[in-house]
Amino acid sequence: MSHISLKNAGVQLPIYDSHSLRLLRLPSFGRAKVGTQAVSHAGSTMIIHALSDVSLELADGDRVCLIGSNGAGKTTLLRLLAGIYAPTSGSIGVEGKVYAMLGNNMLLNNDATGYENIQLIANLYHWPKGKMADFIRDIEEFTELGEYLSLPVRIYSAGMQARLAFAMGTAHTPDILLVDEGIGAGDAHFQQQAQDRIHRFLGTARIIVLASHSVELCRKICTKAILLSKGREVFFGDIEEAFRLYSEPVN
């Protein structure tokens, strides 16, 4: 059983600058417009209200996409779910093994080969050693990278890196998969494969949270959606309803 529960969770990002050390007074962000809904002051530090008052309950089988314009708080919410950010208000509870794939997988070592990187991720995420051969075969089949897997990752194209990262994220099935635009880099064939894989992966009833600007991709993978605007949760529920609200002009 995996489960995610957010209760009025918010993330306020402080902007640290050299003023906090106060050795010298140097030009800073002091003149930025503050006191608006998005930015405020706490002492000398500026605070960005990246996410406020989000409440969610997700359980096994939920496939949710995050939609909203740039800066709406999609990545912040994913980082909150991944445990990268701690909530500054409200609370969060996450049950289950989380794999966060935010951006292209930065953990990859560019000078190491594809195979070495698989071993690296397996090591860092504590994949069971006994099943390594299965994982590797699975990744070989999915990525279709062939002999490229024996070459350093730095020579891979963006799409090839996305394939490898996605294959590794889903090889040792996590309970909760968080994806931020990661699939977008691949070609149409890869997108189709990724969808198939996610559907198969969901046969084991897990949670997926996906942030994407691709309406088509969201529709194919997800059933629910969270619509964010300026760090606030505008809507959480049926995906079609969310897209209808999103496409409405903002007044």
């Binding site: 529960s5 969770a9 306020q12 990002l13 402080p14 640290y16 050299s18 906090s20 050390l21 050795l23 706490a42 002492g43 530090t45 605070i47 980082r79 991944a82 445990g83 990268i84 950010y85 701690a86 909530p87 500054t88 208000s89 409200g90 609370s91 969060i92 509870g93 996450v94 049950e95 989380v98 794999y99 966060a100 794939m101 935010l102 951006g103 997988n105 930065m106 953990l107 070592n109 000078d111 190491a112 070495e116 071993q119 690296l120 090591n123 860092l124 995420y125 504590h126 350093p152 968080l178 931020d180």
Partner: protein, 275 residues
């Protein structure tokens, strides 16, 4: 910043900041982070013919230069000095790698910390393991010294092993502290680099501590870094370190452990905000 922090029910991401568990986690993550650092080293060898051994060559050159100057300044046979200075520089380079790399541990990995959810302890472990691997490379010079009879090999030499362990154990707590604090206060890394240069001059790494005048003896007596140099160097020179040296080194490690716990406790939740 005094923003109130809410309670988190998340299983281990933040609850793992529980102080008493830091030590256990350090041990558990040892293998994982060592494997990570080993891959880094392998890749380094791939791009340059002798990889990290370049640094060992730097050390060898520096030792020769310093031995030449020191024997000229203070007198003494260069053959006797080179063992003392060589071991001193090898140990010092471990200390300096730990401090410098420690400062940038989180800052350097900003992208990875913000985009994946592996335990941040692994970044600390990677830095410490990397320093250990480089140190092991430098020990090749010790072997050369053995072959040429510049350093003695006795049973006492084995006492260096607990010394090295203590040096790196303390090092891992220092790396934890520096990694957090330097992520928050970016000026500190530059200040620390400067201080480290001064510390190299002040610490009896390449000069004989017995030659110091009585009125400046405090430079040696109150220099914690010197004790860490000595717990490794003395046994390799065939001397048993005094109980005082061990007590200071162990005492320091206990203190840095608790400071690391405190740093973790105070800053772990806000780490991603610093980056």
């Amino acid at each position: 910043m005094n923003t109130p922090m809410a309670t988190v029910a998340m299983d281990d991401q933040f609850a793992q900041g529980l102080p008493q568990r830091l030590f256990v986690r350090t041990m558990v993550n040892l293998r994982t982070s060592f494997t990570w650092a080993w891959l880094d080293t392998k890749c380094q060898y791939r791009r340059s013919r002798i990889g990290p051994l370049w640094e060992t060559i730097n050390v060898a050159v520096m030792v020769s230069g310093l031995a030449l100057v020191t024997s000229g300044l203070f007198g003494g046979n260069i053959g006797d000095l080179i063992g003392y200075i060589g071991l001193g520089i090898i140990i010092w380079s471990a200390i300096s790698t730990l401090v410098i790399e420690g400062c940038s541990t989180f800052v350097r990995n900003t992208g990875q910390i913000l985009s994946s959810n592996i335990s941040i302890d692994l970044y600390v472990g990677r830095t410490v393991s990397k320093a250990l691997i480089i140190f092991a490379h430098h020990l090749a010079l010790y072997l050369v010294g053995l072959v040429f009879g510049l350093v003695p090999l006795t049973w006492i030499s084995a006492l260096a092993i607990p010394g090295i362990l203590l040096l790196f154990l303390n090092g891992s707590f220092v790396v934890t502290i520096l990694a957090f604090i330097c992520a928050r206060y970016r000026d500190l890394e530059l200040i620390i680099r400067n201080l480290l240069q001064v510390a190299f001059m002040v610490t009896p790494v390449f000069w004989n501590y017995q030659l110091i005048g009585a009125h400046r003896k405090f430079i040696v007596d109150y220099n914690i870094l010197f004790y860490f140099v000595q717990i490794v160097r003395l046994p390799l020179l065939g001397e048993v370190p005094s109980a005082q040296i061990y007590l200071v080194a162990i005492g320091t490690t206990v203190v840095t452990f608790f400071v690391a716990v405190l740093t973790y406790y105070k800053m772990r939740r806000r780490l991603a905000f610093f980056l």
